[in-house]
């Protein structure tokens, strides 16, 4: 089998496995939610908040008591069981949810493996690292996103991100393989550089990290709508439309059982912050490495070419997000929206900017 064919076959297989993983993660999420609800109802007359707090403690006892359950817990990743922090993610592990977790992990990690094979085959086929045009950027970026999630998931249970991340990767791979696909070619001389490898590799890794963070932030914003509930329709037409949309989201999240298994907004904010912080440091490095590369290749470290402008805008928006978190009245919703804005700019940078703006970076 030629490397090219191998690459295509394994990448399509990875996309399919991610789709399966996404379904399994969703099932896992709703099973966990069901069990939470049952636990709460089982707690009887106690008010719902205390019951919710009590539920995880009971689960622990149950798991500690039965040998079978303990074995199941080990099989499903004993490490995460130990490192679990906070009651919110202390998801109960019982057969239904566990089977789904097992399936989700199996599908995701084998997808990741095939994805890696696909990337290496592409690299062999083209004779250079597989991140030099939009197709390659997409397949590598989605790989990193799943890998980041996979690494975190091996240490602590972040089930609630699973469906989002694998879903994103499925779509990204699908679009990559159908719309963006490009035969491999040699590199233009301007791209033959150690700094290409560094700059673009780190750019992709930080994009992957930002993707996972953005999924967490989206859940955080939905969680706000859910806890706020529906509100009255007032004001002008645009305001009313806004309220309608938010009410719709509130209704949907309240009705969806799987949302029971989603951690609180604060917890999600903390998760997103940690990821965004990592992503931001990597992005800072990306921009700096890009400047070094530009200095080598073009004789100027910064020239405000559209790609550079957008990298700068992204960087400034994430910096604003980090400041917003420490500014009174901005922690929470507003800083979350800022990080979403920064993420949108990030996605713009390698879609719209690559396709429609001309500049030195037009290698896509």
């Amino acid at each position: 089998m030629s490397p090219q064919l191998l690459s295509l076959v394994t990448l399509w297989a990875a996309a399919a496995l991610y789709a399966i993983a996404m379904v399994a993660w969703s099932i896992r999420l709703s099973r966990v939610a069901d069990e939470r609800i049952q636990a709460r109802q089982g707690a009887g007359a106690a008010s719902s908040t205390t019951a919710e707090a009590a539920a995880p403690a009971k689960e622990r006892v149950a798991v500690g008591g039965g040998d079978d359950a303990a074995v199941a817990a080990m099989a499903s990743g004993a490490t995460s069981f130990v490192v679990d922090d906070g009651d919110e993610t202390d998801l109960p592990r019982r057969s239904g949810a566990d089977r789904a977790l097992g399936a989700a992990r199996a599908a995701m990690y084998s997808g990741l493996l095939l994805h890696l094979v696909g990337l290496i085959a592409r690299g062999l086929d083209s004779g250079h690292v597989p991140w030099s045009n939009m197709y390659e950027y997409t397949i590598t970026g989605s790989f990193v996103a799943v890998a980041v999630f996979g690494i975190v998931q091996a240490r602590r249970d972040w089930t609630f991100l699973g469906a989002g991340v694998t879903g994103f990767a499925t779509i990204a791979l699908g679009i990559g393989l159908t719309v963006l696909y490009a035969e491999s070619t040699g590199l233009r001389p301007a791209l033959q550089s150690f700094w290409l490898v560094i700059h673009v590799a780190i750019a992709i890794i930080s994009t992957g990290v930002f993707i996972v963070a953005a999924v967490a932030t989206t859940l955080q914003l939905l969680q706000y709508e859910r806890t706020d509930g529906e509100r009255e329709l007032t004001g002008g037409a645009i305001r009313r439309l806004g309220i309608r949309v938010r009410n719709g989201l509130a209704r949907w999240t309240q009705r969806a059982t799987w949302f029971e298994a989603i951690p609180s907004a604060q917890k999600l904010e903390a998760v997103a912050f940690r990821l965004n912080a990592v992503g931001f440091v990597l992005w800072t490095f990306t921009v700096m490495a890009g400047a070094v590369w530009a200095e080598h290749a073009w004789g100027r470290y910064w020239g405000w070419d559209p790609k550079e402008v957008w990298s700068f805008v992204i960087w400034v928006l994430y910096a604003a997000y980090l400041h917003a978190r420490t500014t009174q009245g901005w922690l929470g919703r507003r800083s979350a929206w800022l990080s979403i804005a920064a993420f949108v700019a990030l996605i713009m940078n390698f879609t719209v900017v690559n396709l429609f703006f001309q500049g030195l970076h037009t290698y896509a």
Binding site: V82, Q192, V316, L317, V353
Partner: protein
């Protein structure tokens, strides 16, 4: 009482200020933080037009065309700085304000940080049970336990700067039946704060380096045909620009000869490699042969020489109507596309008699007939062909206005015509000589060397810029990932009456997202009391 939260810079030195001072200080910080936030958002917003609209410094030709196409709207955008966003007054105002705010915000923090570093660690709070994360363990020898806790905390050199600062007090106890207690207070906030300060100061450093660099920099472009050479002086450059503080006398008069330019293309005509083989002669040293590649500039005289472009420079000889050689030189042609369809202009002012001559030529490196016209199929010289048209008249060179060598001013020229009265045009191949109409002379294409377009740029600020960037990166990583924790241990100095052991109580304060804090507290307590825990307990 509400749990104290320290995931907020505003409380970094809270214990040292009174309520009023604390409030004022926090208010000031919060307001300036808000200003910083707004300025950052403005900066992002203001940058966007710079990527959407054509910009003078990036592409003057496009910008001029844009203004012409858009009438008053284009002129309005030009006048308001939207066509040179990053040099515009409003963009400058935003970042100057931002950096003013940054400096105003960071300098007091540097002072506070420095004072904190040299002042004693704040004592242990009176009551530990206020804090959420607590633990306790028993020990028989309190003094030894505290000593091991202290040495566990300050194991590393420079620990007080980079990690924990520790103090141990003996103090009257509030606990019933206990007279004195030992209290250990450890402050592990310094590193994070240090990182934050380094980061923001480095940002100022980056801005300063860029500003100084723009004053001292110089950059020049020169085109060198294979076999020719070039001397580093302002007159020898085709174009030259420099910062306000640059002095011409600082140029070192080195000499660069282009021996050969290798260009490799694949079968489809995509560029694979460009290498300029050059000889560099610096004053008072032997000439050295070396190479310049697209990503590998040549370091010389505090600057770098980049290979920025390349093309063909056909060698042309024009003999005038009197039979004298009026022109003989290599003329750089400008590539117009990926297959090096190149256009060139030959100006022949020095004819013995009669009108001046001018030529417009198109070079097709690999000429092929696509059914309608001749096009180039590949950038290599596989089947070179030149399409030529001639003009006679006044080239307009004597007006004193500098002319673009790549443009023929046709206002006072008329095209050469053949006997039938049609515009004269021929296709020729290398080595061929064609007769010009009306006995105006001959045009010979002798050979086709390549030329390289070189760009020399010197910017003495680069090492400083790099240093400041590395500082920013390291500072940022510290400021985001170094923990920010306060840890306390308290125990009665002697066991309670009848008991053999005392209970050491511990508490730790850390931002909510700091998952490792509780672990660290437990480890310190383990080290102090010799407690052995089962792993599951974690």
């Amino acid at each position: 009482m509400a749990r104290m939260k320290i995931d907020n810079y505003a409380i970094a030195d809270a214990p040292r200020l009174g309520v009023k001072g604390w409030g004022r200080w926090m208010w000031r910080q919060v307001t300036s933080m808000r200003v910083a936030l707004i300025l950052l958002l403005l900066l992002a917003l203001a940058s966007i037009p710079g990527s959407v609209l054509p910009q003078w410094p990036q592409n003057a030709a496009n910008t001029r065309a844009f203004i012409e196409q858009n009438g008053w709207w284009g002129r309005f955008l030009d006048a308001t700085g939207f066509l040179d966003v990053f040099g515009s007054a409003w963009f400058t105002a935003i970042y100057v304000l931002l950096f003013a705010s940054l400096i105003g915000c960071i300098l007091p923090r540097v002072r506070v940080y420095w004072r904190n570093l040299r002042s004693p660690v704040p004592p242990v709070p009176a009551r530990l049970d206020r804090y959420e994360n607590r633990d306790e363990a028993e020990t028989a020898d309190v003094a030894a336990a505290f000593e091991s806790a202290r040495s566990h905390l300050i194991r590393r050199p420079a620990s007080s700067l980079l990690g924990w600062r520790v103090r141990v007090d003996e103090r009257p106890s509030r606990q019933e039946g206990v007279e004195t207690e030992l209290a250990l207070s450890a402050n592990g906030e310094g590193l994070r704060e240090l990182g934050n300060l380094i980061f923001h100061l480095s940002l100022v450093g980056i801005l300063a380096a860029v500003a100084v660099g723009s004053l001292l920099t110089y950059r020049g472009q020169a085109i060198i045909v294979e076999g020719d050479s070039f001397t580093n002086s302002v007159v020898d450059y085709d174009s030259f620009s420099s910062g306000n503080l640059f002095r011409e006398s600082s140029l070192e008069p080195f000499r660069l000869t282009l021996d050969e330019l290798d260009a490799a293309f694949n079968v489809q005509g995509l560029a694979e490699d460009f290498t300029a083989h050059v000889t560099l002669q610096e004053p008072e040293t032997d000439p050295v042969s070396t190479q310049i590649q697209v990503n590998r500039p040549l370091q010389v005289d505090g600057g770098k020489i980049y290979l920025q472009g390349n093309g063909y420079a056909p060698e042309i000889t024009v003999v005038d109507s009197d039979g004298n050689v009026a022109f003989s030189d290599a003329v750089p042609y400008l590539p117009q596309d990926g297959v090096y369809t190149s256009t060139g202009v030959v100006k022949v002012p020095d004819v013995t008699s009669g009108e001046q001559l001018g030529f417009l030529a198109t070079l097709l490196p690999t000429a092929a007939d696509n059914g309608e016209t001749l096009v180039s199929a590949h950038p290599d010289l596989a089947n070179p062909m030149m399409l030529l048209r001639g003009y006679s008249g006044d080239l307009g060179l004597d007006t004193g206005i500098p002319q673009n060598v790549y443009v023929l001013d046709e206002s006072q020229l008329s095209p050469m015509r053949d006997e039938a009265g049609n515009v004269w045009s021929v296709a020729l191949v290398p080595g061929q000589t064609v007769e010009l109409p009306d006995g105006l002379g001959t045009f010979t294409w002798n050979d086709t060397p390549r030329y390289g377009a070189f760009d020399l740029r010197a910017d003495p600020s680069l090492p400083w810029l790099l240093a400041a960037s590395i500082g920013a990166l390291v500072g940022l990583a510290l400021s985001l990932f170094a923990p920010r924790r306060r840890l306390w241990l308290v125990a009665p100095l002697t066991p309670a009456a009848g008991g053999e052991t005392t209970v050491v109580r511990a508490a730790i304060m850390a931002p909510a997202h700091d998952a490792g804090a509780v672990d660290e507290m437990r480890r310190v307590l383990d080290a102090a009391t010799g407690r052995v825990r089962r792993v599951e307990e974690e």
